[in-house]
Symmetry: C2
């Protein structure tokens, strides 16, 4: 039996031994089942069950390359960033992330609460399941993890110490390439355009000079605006959910960046769900996504004010006009970043099931064009998206344009 004093990539047998050695509830277990259940792009995830008691945990380990592609060689220290982010988010937004039991820096793994009773939100949404509490929960998560790790709330020296420990250059580089660069240039062979939409993408993304200018600004904002501790990859595949609970997982891309990146990712991924509902004529589901899109912006705005007023320690935060200007900047970033996520998931390396599983090729191409049209609006005119309603208007306009 291998020991765990030096890093190696574990298999199921190793993980079984690992929990026996490290986790109280497995100490005397006679029957342990262990399955690799990871479907993300980067890591290995094991569900381990004590079959005697039916208690279970999740073990997540970082490998030395990304699962999605060997091109991404990654330091395994990212597991530490992810686990510490979860611990901090657990403090700030209790109940909205899994509880961490063990952080093991040597093995680059962590042991956490098993959330298998919940479903991945994107998967459930492909079956048109709706989640009436999602907007409420996710805005709680966003406001508490973002505003409360900013200089508005945190003592500035403590915040700078966090900025320092969450420098996450390898994972940020992935986003800088896949989100902010490749989708807008036709000389990257990782782009994949659905046959039929080539000309549309050429015009709207590759040859669109004004768009490139705004994308460049957003890329530098992503790299240089150390506003708050982001989740960094807050799409609907990073959310476990049912009718009562919402748990945000997988913050391995965590770093200090612009709040709008997280909020924009939530919005964009809800727009994919909307586009799917729309393509498949699921009116009730589509209505729910529209309400949810509106609620995310409206509830975020409402809670932003409350959180600011309750927790601010920074002297200038007393200035009401400054609070408004700050929020307006966050919402502008939200729109731009949502546009980027929409664009990169349609043409870039990492696609979303909401769109790829639309069976009718005609409907899929149409859904893609609608998403890209909305992306274009969001990136070029982010100042127009200060309300939830403005998103719906943009969606409806893009749909109308397509039906002409």
């Amino acid at each position: 039996m291998k020991n765990f004093n030096e890093y190696f990539l574990m298999g199921t047998a190793d993980v079984t031994n690992y929990v026996k050695e490290h986790v109280e509830i497995f100490k005397d277990a006679q029957n342990i089942s262990c399955d690799e259940i990871g479907d993300g792009n980067l890591n290995y995830v094991y569900r381990v069950v004590n079959m005697d008691t039916n208690e279970s945990v999740i073990v997540k380990q970082a490998g030395t390359t990304a699962r999605i592609s060997d091109e991404f060689v990654l330091s395994t220290t990212r597991n530490k960033i992810e686990t510490e982010a979860l611990q901090l988010q657990y403090e700030l937004a209790p109940g909205l992330v899994p509880k961490i039991l063990i952080l093991d820096e040597t093995m680059s793994c962590c042991v956490m609460e098993d959330l298998s009773h919940l479903t991945i939100m994107r998967t459930a949404m492909t079956e048109f399941e709706t989640f009436p509490l999602f907007a409420e929960h996710i805005t709680d998560f966003l406001v508490n993890t973002l505003v409360r790790t900013s200089d508005v709330v945190m003592p500035h020296k403590e915040k700078k110490a966090l900025v320092q420990s969450y420098i996450n250059s390898e994972l940020c580089e992935i986003s800088e390439d896949l989100v902010f660069t490749e989708p807008f240039h036709n000389n990257f062979n990782r782009n994949e355009i659905t046959p039929g939409n080539e000309a549309f993408v050429q015009t709207l993304l590759y040859d669109n000079k004004p768009l490139h200018l705004e994308v460049a600004k957003l890329k530098f904002k992503f790299m240089n605006h150390s506003q708050a501790l982001l989740h960094g990859d807050l799409h609907t595949g990073s959310v476990f959910i049912d009718q009562n609970e919402t748990k945000v997982i997988d913050p391995e891309f965590a770093f200090f960046g612009p709040m709008g990146y997280d909020i924009g990712n939530v919005m964009a991924n809800l727009i994919f769900a909307w586009a799917r509902g729309n393509a498949m004529d699921e009116q009730e589901f589509t209505n729910w996504t529209e309400h949810t899109l509106m609620d995310v912006i409206e509830l975020f705005t409402e809670k932003f004010h409350k959180t600011w007023d309750t927790y601010a320690t920074e002297l200038t935060a007393n200035n009401q006009e400054f609070k408004e200007a700050y929020l307006s900047d966050v919402l502008k970033d939200t729109a731009g970043m949502a546009g980027l996520e929409l664009a990169r998931r349609i043409v870039g390396l990492a696609k979303v099931k909401d769109i790829t599983t639309i069976e009718s090729i005609e409907k899929r191409l149409q859904a893609e064009r609608i998403c890209l049209q909305v992306a274009n609006e969001l990136i070029l005119h982010p100042e127009n998206f200060a309300s939830g309603e403005s998103y719906i208007v943009a969606l409806q306009n893009a749909r109308l344009e397509e039906s002409k």
Copy 2:
């Protein structure tokens, strides 16, 4: 004799022993002179001369509190940041900073090239000395140290590693308080207003709501915009100079922040020199400061384009409109930050000799009001300051306003 294996605050005898032990040219010295020559706010600076050979070095050590006030308790690791910044700046802008001979992290000291043949620029300017090469030299320094440590030029992972190692929370906090907060509120007892200007300051700084909004935005830009490695305290007391050479010293406030903070500090401190020349009717000197103010902006702009075009590695840097937008943002920050430096040096804790040594109290009060009036313009309308000439117009308007 004490050893140097553990930090203690050295006196002249200790420093003499230190150089004998550590610096080649003092090994066999029979006659060494050692004088404390520091006049900065934070550290202890010794000039050590081998009287046999007339060779000399500077030893600079960080104490555990600031010299200016025991209120500032500081980690001595700031000496490491300062010395490493000088080493990096020496690579990027050779000839424009002193050469480092030794970095001693244990003793929190460094040994560097002696620049005593040069004069502190502020001191020389109080005697109306002019420096025709200053604008050329300082813009070389600014462009090379700023643009070449940004994401435009540096590979992003290397740049993030530098951001991490230059987190400088204690020194940044001093600026956050003294530059961005206290000068705008009358409830800080560290402010000192020259008697006679109380009402003016009350109206222009303390009761000026629109100004407070812009100051808050600039404060957050200072804290959250990790654009480039700043000197962090680039006033004319941090410049050694003569008719041929310019050497920038004392980058202990170095951190990754907005480029405009450094450029704005240069501009503001030239404006103080201008205000002195103006108050004392030194026409020739005043003319030189005006030309220099214009040249700093114009030469920076010219060299910014060249440096960008020569060194950029970031793909989006090919976008000419992005380059223009980036520069325009830097110049806007420059104006705002210059306004902040003007304001805080007139009403805040750390004053400047250019103004405090104007003997006529009437002329001094007038010079202060002119500086504050210009500060107000710069902070409220930074977008109007995209050219060197625009600064001169603002100075002339403020002077005219005062002479009414």
